[in-house]
Every structure is written in C-alpha cells, then in structure tokens.
C-alpha cells in the first residue's frame, strides 16, 4: 500500500507540470494586467515600460514560466531599461512556495489566498456534512420503502432539484427565506456576507449566514447522490448474502445497518471524494451570489482583472487539492473494501 501511494504521488508530479504549463500559456493571453493597474490616470509610457520589466512581462513565455517555477533570485533583472541586467531578482518561484505578488493588491498571492481559503473551507465542510448524511438517510429510506408513494415523491423531487441551476435555488431561497419571511414578520435569513458588521464575526453570525449558501449548494448534490445511494442500496439488498443474513434470523434493522450499509456505502466514498471539483466550481457561483468572502470570489475578481499570480496560484492549489483527494479516495476505498489490495 505504501508503495502504491508513492507511485501515485510520483505520477502526480508530471501531471501537475503539464497542468501548470497549459494554464500558464492560457494566462498569457487573457488580457493585459497593466491596463487595470493605473487606476483612473492612464499610465505614462515610462511607467508602463518599467512595470513591464519589473514584472518580467517583456521576457519570452518560456522564460516567464521558468521564473514562475523556480524564481529569478539567482539572476539579475534589467529594471531601468538600459539593456543591462543589474538588479537582483527577488522571486523564489513556485517550487519554493513563492507564488508571486498580486498585481492588484501588492501582497503575496499566497497571503491573499490564505485569508479567503478558510471561509471557503467552512462552506465546503458544512456542505459535505449535509450531503453525506442527507444522501445516506434519504437513499436508504427510499430503498427500503421502494415503490411506495414516498419513494416516488422523493425520486421526482430528486430529479427536479438535481436539474436546477444553483442560482435558481439560491435566488428562490433568498426570495422566500429572506425577503418574504421579512415581509411576513418571520425571522429572516441574511443574504449577504459572512456576518453583520455591527454584531461582528461571531460563530453564531457566521453559522446563521452560512445556512442559505450551504443549503443552495447542498440541495442539488444531495438530490443526485441520494438517488445514487438508493440505487446502490437496492442493488445490495438484492444480493444473495442479504438473503443469507435474513435466513439466519437476524433482525431487519441489523441486516440493513450491518450487512447492507457497509456494502452500499462503498460507492459513496468514491462520489464524495471525487466531488471536489463540482464543489469548488459551485462555490464560485454561490460565493458570488451571497457575497461570501471566499476563494471562489477571489478567483473571479482576479481573473477579471488579469491578476496572473493569484489566478495561477489558485488554479495550482485547486489542482493539487483534487489530486490529493483522488488519492485519499482510493486509499479510503481500499481500506473499507477488503477485496481490494493495491500492490
């Protein structure tokens, strides 16, 4: 198993290189970062040229990539445009965890991300909890009550929620639970941000503000995964070993929870583990709608303003996270299913 993990990690490295190259090339052409840097005053020609040299934007693409990867503190940069490189570079490169400085906020990219990441993680954590518990509960219930009216209703609802665009649920819940509740004099939910500025960033405030965004995100996935769980559970309940367990006179609940569940939830591990890309993508839209100060919003804002270092940093982090999660999923699956042994 240990060898398998190492092999997977080694395989991930060239993968990450390919990803970084593709993304870097893409980023070169998405716009001119300098265009948004000067504020209202149009930048003077000399300033533009100085900035260009300072940011290394005058170098060919592969050199820029090299600097991005391993920094330029081992070489000199020509800052004054006289053709002679005299200033020592100060970037250490991504391999030494220097993702550069944001072109917009003049602070290290990683710092910016570090500020926003916990907020997104909070949403993600709550989302996973709701989705996993919900999908298990609804899926098992549906499977056990197959063909009942409730089952059909749940199936229909699942299809509907599963087909909804996130913004529909988000706006709908805002309309009903924020606006209409307020109109009807009920305690209403907030629609913006993580906390009320007057009250401050308390746990209660954050939790209260989290409900609508998490619910919007989670409902869609829950609908899809509960159907998956139902299908998996039904398949398991039809297996011979369930019949054997019943023939031994074991109680219905025991058979369900001990014999069936362990088998039926194996696919859930895969789904949850591989759900990360969907989750991160959904987070972008949700954070935008609810003005949640997370990484998704950071990405969106900084792509718009062509802030290459921050955007590359986020993309690379996301890629690393996805790869690690894939690996964790495989390991967990192998740990749970005794039939699988990676050698």
């Amino acid at each position: 198993m240990g060898r398998y993990i190492i092999r997977r990690l080694l395989q991930a490295i060239p993968l990450l290189f390919i990803i970084s190259i593709v993304l870097f090339v893409l980023m070169q052409n998405i716009g001119d970062p300098l265009a948004t840097m000067g504020g209202r005053r149009p930048t003077r020609k000399e300033d533009r040229e100085r900035l260009t040299r300072q940011l290394g934007l005058d170098k060919p693409v592969y050199v820029q990539y090299l600097y991005w990867l391993i920094g330029n503190d081992w070489t000199k940069v020509d800052l004054d445009g006289d053709g002679v490189a005299e200033t020592q570079g100060r970037r250490k490169g991504v391999l030494r965890l220097d993702f550069g400085t944001s072109l917009i906020e003049k602070r290290p990219a990683l710092t910016l991300i570090g500020e926003r990441l916990p907020n997104t993680l909070l949403l993600m954590g709550a989302y996973e909890l709701v989705v996993v518990i919900g999908a298990l509960a609804v899926g098992i219930y549906s499977a056990v009550r197959q063909y009942s009216l409730t089952d059909h209703a749940i199936t229909a609802l699942s299809f509907i929620f599963y087909s909804m665009p996130i913004f529909f649920i988000a706006f709908l819940s805002m309309q009903i639970f924020a606006l209409d509740f307020r109109r009807w004099g009920l305690p209403y939910f907030p629609t913006v941000g993580m906390f009320e500025p007057e009250t401050g960033k308390t746990a209660g405030q954050v939790a209260w503000h989290m409900i609508l965004p998490v619910a919007s995100l989670a409902l869609i996935s829950l609908a899809g995964y509960s159907r998956y769980m139902r299908g998996s559970m039904l398949e398991v309940l039809n297996q011979d070993y369930i019949r054997t367990a019943k023939s031994k006179g074991l109680g219905r609940r025991y058979v369900l929870l001990v014999h069936a569940l362990k088998n039926a939830s194996l696919p859930i591990v895969t789904i949850v583990g591989l759900d990360l890309p969907t989750l991160l993508g959904g987070a972008i839209v949700t954070e935008r709608i609810f003005a949640w100060p997370g990484m998704g919003r950071l990405f969106l804002d900084h792509v718009q303003r062509v802030d290459t270092p921050v955007v590359m940093a986020i993309l690379m982090l996301v890629s690393v996270a996805v790869i690690i999660f894939q690996l964790l999923t495989d390991i967990t699956y192998a740990w749970l299913d005794p039939r699988i042994r990676y050698d």
Binding site: I19, V22, L23, M164, F167, G231, L280, V322
Partner: protein, 317 residues
C-alpha cells in the same frame, strides 16, 4: 380425482405456450416506452423547442430587444406576461430568443464534446501503448481542474476575439461560438474514458481480430466495426451532456463571461439579477431559470430512459 380445470381446452403445442422472441430493437423500444418519465421528458423537450423556435413567428427579435426604460422591472401583466427586465425589455420575448441560443449551444457543444471524446478515447483504447499513455495523461490533466475554472479562464482568453456573425439576417455575438468551443473542450474527458474502456474490451474480441486478419485498415476497424458496438453508453452520455452544456453555459453567462450582447441566452438574462434581489423582482430571474430547469430536467428524464432501454446493466442512479 381432482383436477385444476375440468373443461376441455384446445390442444396446445409446446411452442405456442411461449411468447415469440422480440428483436433487440423491439425490446429496447418497449423498455423505453414503459419509462413514463422519459416520455414526459421527450414531450417537454418538444414543447420547449416549439416555444423557442415556433415562438419566433409570433415575436420578432426587435421586440425582444426593445428597451423601454419607463417600463423597467415590471411584474407580470397582460402586456408583459413574464414582466420586464432592468431596461424595460419584455422577458417573455427574450426567453424565446434566448431559448434558441441556449438550446443550440447545448446541442452543438455536445457535438464538439462527443467528437473529441470519441476520437481521443478510440485512439487511446485502440492503439494502446505510448499513444494511450500520452492521451490519458492529457485527459487526466484537463479532468483535474474543475470545469468552471477552465471555462472562466478560457472565456477571458477568447473574449472579444471572435467577431459577430451574420446569419439568416440576424446578428449573433461571436461569443456564442466561443462558448460552444470552450464547453465542448472542457467536457470530453468523461466520454473519452468510457469510449477507451469500451475499445479496450472490444478490440480483443474475435470479430475484430477477424477484421484485422483480413487486412482491414485501422480507421475502418475503429469506425465501422468497434464504434457501432459501443453506441449505447455514448448515446446516453451524449444526451446527458446536452443538459450539462446548457447548465455550463448558464453559469458562465450568469457570471458575465459567457454569451455577450447583442445575443440573449437564458443564462445571461440573469447577469445583473444579484443587484436587484432586494427589490423582489422574482420574475426577472424566475422565468429564465425555470426554463433552464425544465430543459435540464427533461433531458435528464430522457437520458434515464435511454439508459434503462439501451444499457440496463449500467444502472448508476
């Protein structure tokens, strides 16, 4: 002496007691027809197409783009059954023309995706070796990054680079082509994996070895012999891909990076909805979103029915 039935019955031969076997096509159609949800999905889709394309006979594109700031953000009324948007345009008319684009984008993006997926998956599965290794590394690389991130970056990359198109006397924003291409280019990976798996399992079958032994060129083996045998998962995947493409387009248009003016889609009709939430203008985001929901829902029903009919062993949901 008891008996089950004392009445005389006509002599039955052994064969008559069994029902005649059905052809595969008949069996598939029977299974599909039994799937009430799928039939509902088909009906709904037909209605949506009639709405978007037939509706164009009743409402002109000029009507859809007619701004009337005095009538901005009005709730549904007799004059404007779906209400008006932030510059007074009739939402009903806009959803008709927006629907055309959304549906077309869904279908064409699916085509791009299917072609890419089949080509890459078939090449990887059939040729194996280093071709497979390289293609699969590439597939994995693109797969790892969540689609929306890629779409956002690529939309920015291509944004403004494709000029407007004149077609059928109407002007379409070049961003439509951009959106189709980038959605197709970021969705093919799943299909490629399926196709590759099918090819790997099929290429060792005897009828393929026979074709190869008689000197059939690789291209013909791939497209005439192997591919027709794995159509079932491809068809199911392609159907569901249309829904995914419609959703993807709606998301990036909603974020303001997708289809641009002057072309309307269900997604970009919502792009400033966030700013007007507090005014309670539910019709502004409600109708386009509802139409997206209906389209995606009916495609999902249809896809479910197709999967049951064509590929009953692959029950995932």
């Amino acid at each position: 002496m008891s008996s089950e039935a004392a009445t005389a019955i006509p002599q039955l031969k052994a064969d008559e007691l069994e029902a005649p076997p059905l052809t595969l096509r008949q069996l598939t159609w029977r299974r599909f027809r039994r799937h009430k949800m799928a039939m509902f999905g088909v009906a709904m889709l037909v209605l949506l197409f009639i709405y978007s394309f037939g509706g164009a006979f009743f409402v002109s594109e000029a009507d859809a783009n007619l701004t009337e700031t005095a009538a901005r953000l009005q709730p549904p009324s007799a004059a404007h059954p779906f209400g008006t948007d932030t510059v007074g345009r009739d939402i009903l008319a806009r959803t008709i023309y927006g629907g055309q684009i959304s549906l077309i984008i869904g279908l064409t993006a699916m085509l791009v995706e299917v072609i890419l997926g089949i080509l890459i998956g078939a090449a990887a599965g059939y040729f194996g070796g280093w071709i497979d290794a390289v293609l699969m590394r590439f597939t994995e690389a693109v797969f790892v990054i969540p689609q929306i991130f890629l779409l956002i970056v690529m939309a920015k990359y291509f944004g403004g680079k494709v000029p407007n198109i004149e077609l059928f006397g109407r002007t379409f924003s070049g961003s439509v082509v951009v959106v189709i291409v980038i959605i197709g280019a970021t969705s093919w990976m799943y299909l490629a994996r399926i196709v590759r798996a099918e090819f790997i399992s099929l290429k060792e079958r005897e009828f393929i070895l026979a074709a190869k032994a008689t000197g059939t060129p690789a291209v013909e083996v791939i497209f005439s012999h192997i591919l027709p045998n794995c159509m079932a998962p491809i068809i199911v995947s392609a159907t569901l891909a249309v829904a995914a493409a419609i959703l993807a387009e709606s998301y990036i248009s909603f974020l303001g990076l997708g289809v641009q003016a002057p072309t309307a889609t269900w997604g970009n009709m919502l792009d400033s909805a966030i700013n007007y939430i507090d005014e309670g203008a539910w019709w502004y985001w409600g109708f386009p979103s509802l139409l997206i929901l209906l389209a995606v829902l009916s495609i999902n029903f249809l896809g479910d029915g197709l999967r049951d009919a064509l590929d009953p062993h692959s029950r995932a949901v």
